[in-house]
Amino acid sequence: MALVVDQTTDTQCVHCGLPAPVPSDAEQAAFCCIGCEVAHSALTHAGFDATYYALRDTTTVRPSASAAPSDALLAELDADAFLERHAQRNADGSATLDLYLDGVHCAACVWLVERLPFVMPGVASARLDLPRARLRVVWYPEHVRLSAIAQWLAQFGYAAHPKRMAAQDARSHAERSLLIRTGVCWALAGNVMLLAFAFYSGLDSSTEASLTAAARWVSLALATISVTYGGQVFIRKAWASVRLAWAVRSWRSLHMDLPIALGILVGYGHSTWATVTGQGEVWFDSIAVLIAALLTARWLHLRSRRLAGEASDRLLALIPTSAQRIATDGSIEVVDVEALAVGDTVLVAAGAVVPADGIVTDGTSTLDKSVLTGESAPEAVAPGQAVAAGVLNHSAPLRLCVTAVGEATQVGRLLAWVRDNDAAPDHTTLADRLGGVFVGAVLLLALVTAAIWWVIDPSVIATHVVALLVITCPCALGMATPLVMAVSTAQAARRGLFIKHDAVFQRLATIDTLVLDKTGTLTEGRMRLVDWAGDAEALDLAAVLETQSEHPIAVALVEARRPTRTHQPMSYTAEAGAGLHGWVDDHHVVIGQPDWVATFAALSDAQQRQLDAWALHGFTPVAVAVDGQVRACCGFGDPLRADAPATLDRFRQDGYALHLCSGDDSRVVAQVGERLGLPADHAHGRITPDGKRAFVCQLQHDGQHVLMLGDGVNDAAALQAAEVGVAVHGSTTASLVAADVFLTGSGVEALPPLFDGARRTRAVIRRSLTLSLGYNVLGAAAAMAGLVTPLVAAVAMPISSLAVVAFALTQRSFRFTSTVSP
């Protein structure tokens, strides 16, 4: 049976450029979906279309079709308690708030969103931070309501979510303060170097005694600020590692910062002594440059991780900040979500997001769990069933008895885990393993050098020991790994690959097994009309009826048939889990599960066989009856992503073992596996979240190194268990999941660039480490032999660091065109 994905041609959607069905009327513009059409008409209506389409990047992402904010979100945005808590009030009566905007992606979006103050009186300013998808809006609450702003944004397809302040601001604050520290230290280093030029160019204490002394004292003053303000970062860490090493009696706990701190302190102490006594060399310049260079490496490191961390905050932004609590007397009050307690009863309106984990006590509805699970089909809930915070309540109001709030909810625990992971020190990188050995070796060599020169000439011990400490300063070694990784992480982030831990680069080398979640990574993650048979007119009538529903099958049918507005649905009734029936013009239309439709009209044998064939292939069969006669049958499914087979073929050829592991129906998973050419025992369906984790652990137990690719919270445990967990941005969800790597792309085709980039990065790191270790070994030998003066050491040290910096900055690890064959 030929399975055609849909009836598209090479016509392009006017709004987003994706393939679109040919419009029935040649004069009409073509659209791929309702979302694009709505956005296009809003732009035209506002007179923004000319500039927007001129600025737009044509390779854009489809706008989210469901940008329309729910009433609950709008009410939340206007609540005084919300403004009190999350917005910042300014002196002139205006308020400042950050909003996350889903769907911003190019220059046209910046232009459009920043039109806000010009079209809406009462909005003082709107600034969009494109890479972080964050809008900072300043408005006068007494003139314009925040909900009006959200609605204005929504008409163009931008869904706004209020941002929680705490975690992100702490991160941003740490980065700013380190940047200031770095800048100040570079200014100090620059000035100390200028003064040092005077010594290098022949300022001599014998001829210009007072000038020399003055220059030294000024250098001492500047270097003192540099050491106490900038150097303390390393000295504190070094001291902490010494205390830890002492406590656990293991020199392996000694941190790389120890020789750095020791070099800084010995050099500074020696130079200070030389300044006070007026005899001997000073190395204030090299100390100041060393501190500034190391701080720069650290700042780059911190900054490169920021985007990844911020992406995880977006998940938090999806949970509402207020809830409707039902008091014992039955009245409903709106309370802050943090004021909820276990045992409270809350009301969740249709279209609202569940604010806390709970058990349904009253009402039946369907839930869209795609944010949490990535699974696209809505699930029916009835009293007695558990519901997790963050899921969307689709069809009818629900009453919940709260079982967990805030941090204790599923989402809360997940976010806590992400945060802990961010904060946890990373002992697995090569440089850190080398660190302890290196520190011990340098300290031992310093002792040996002192001993040798004690025998030969005690008067030059200090000179040679300091030369050794300065030349072996692991500045290049220490900088090599973090700097190369920082640069390559930043390059990767620009391509939409957010790498949270440096260890990922090393771990990717050992991976030999890929475990893939089906929904959203291999398939498009949303329902499409895959095939149909019967009467087109009946299908169109059904599509008109389905415009009334938000069920994914309804959305898919409306998208495929694009009903014209000449028909109007008169009335309709939805039967949960079965379908819809109602009147369109004068026709009674029934659409839904074949068994249910059969209670209205009899199915012929041919139709029944057709529907059974679709079901066998893992598609959802749907029948349409008009005026008591079954007139059309359709199969709905989630089609494979276009690039998935080629990508998987490449991995298979490279010798990776591939497994499919999904919570979806076994038949569906088996069918996807078959189309991808996977052996039947490698496609596993109906796997619970715990089952996925167990599966990954089992593979690891068998000695395999596993990369898990998933797109939902239900994959979180497996992502954590795997050596490398990769989360993707599902095409229907804004979900971000705890994982080592987060891909803003939504499919498996983003994996090869990740593997290639990591391999190149490792090569650059190996080169840098070889260079810096070679330099250190040569330098140490020369210094011990007394061939190097501290001045030469101070010049050689920055040169080796510069070489490493050059390596790091000129690498092109992630700057390449996609290697996936088209």
Binding site: L55, A107, V110, W111, E114, F118, R127, L128, D129, L130, P131, R132, S172, R176, L179, I180, G183, V184, A187, G190, N191, L194, L195, A198, E208, L211, A214, A215, V218
Partner: protein
């Protein structure tokens, strides 16, 4: 060379002004988002 007694403090003062300017620009958040301003300048209001 005695002019250095005047020039060096002067240079330090200038450096101090630059450091203050840098401090201000960091606090102002100018390094937070280095991509959007590049786009924004292309848009004529």
């Amino acid at each position: 060379m005695t002019i250095l007694y005047l020039l060096v403090p002067l240079a330090l003062l200038l450096a101090g002004a630059a450091v203050y300017g840098f401090y201000w620009s960091v606090r102002d958040g100018q390094y937070e988002d280095t991509e959007t301003p590049a786009i924004r300048m292309l848009l004529d209001d």
